[in-house]
């Protein structure tokens, strides 16, 4: 019994280290997102196409690819058996979307505009050579940044 326990220790410690790393990384990312959104909240995003004001338009894009971690994958595996909402994956897609939109705001800021119209959020398909069974969330967002002539 105790021999079995000793055999399990490396496995358990890897799982623990991964769980703690995941928690810290997630927390750091959410904090960075909140800060970035706070800092760039003056840049407005719209998904409408019409714009009758002044200024010049320019296409801007941003991409993000997030890994679906082992814990979320496991929760998804269980969830897919019993059905219902996969909260773990939903949280990840939400993070990916926030990150992508934040990057779009940064792009807008870099091109000197405070308004982005025609914003589109689209998923992308990516297959890996190695680890093709692992899941990832890939998004691209595009928009037309409006740069005011006097700014």
């Amino acid at each position: 019994m105790s021999a079995l326990l000793w055999d399990l220790i490396p496995f358990i410690s890897i799982v623990l280290i991964a769980a703690i790393t995941r928690m810290l990384l997630t927390r750091a990312h959410l904090l960075a997102l909140a800060r970035g959104e706070q800092r760039l909240q003056h840049i407005q995003l719209r998904n409408t196409q019409q714009y009758h004001g002044s200024g010049q338009g320019k296409l801007i894009c941003a991409e993000v690819v997030l890994a679906v971690d082992a814990f979320s994958s496991l929760r998804w595996a269980i969830r897919s058996l019993i059905g219902g909402e996969a909260k773990a994956l939903q949280k990840l897609t939400c993070r990916a979307r926030r990150e992508a939109l934040l990057r779009l705001r940064r792009e807008a800021q870099a091109s000197g505009s405070k308004l982005v119209i025609g914003v589109r959020i689209e998923p992308a398909r990516l297959n890996a050579t190695f680890g093709r069974n692992q899941h990832r969330i890939a998004l691209r967002v595009t928009g037309t940044a409006i740069k005011l002539a006097h700014s």
Partner: protein, 104 residues
């Protein structure tokens, strides 16, 4: 070259439509970075090498599309769309397409 992903180009008036232009690229990623990024699937996080792949492929496709538009004599491309597909493992195709126009 002026660009937009909507049906107009704010600040300009479209005088002539020259038709659809497109540009595409198929890119693969270094397998070493692929293996490294698969470790991230344990504890999560951003797969920067994939993000870079998507960004580089999109920039290349966009450049080729703009080149095609230039040859048609356009000075802007409107309603630009991107589509990303995975045609093989480890490779990613990005297609950029839009309508070449003359604006003033």
């Amino acid at each position: 070259m002026l660009t937009s992903n909507i049906e107009t180009l704010p600040g300009y008036r479209i005088t002539q439509h020259l038709g659809l232009v497109e540009g595409s690229t198929v890119r693969a990623k270094n397998v070493g970075r692929d293996i490294l990024s698969s470790i991230k699937n344990l504890f999560g996080g951003e797969l920067e090498s994939y993000t870079d792949l998507m960004r580089e492929a999109r920039a290349e496709a966009e450049t080729r599309m703009l080149e095609a538009a230039k040859q048609l004599g356009a000075n802007a491309v409107i309603n630009i769309r991107f589509s990303t597909t995975s045609i093989a493992d480890g490779a990613s195709e990005v297609l950029a397409y839009g309508t070449a126009v003359v604006v003033e």
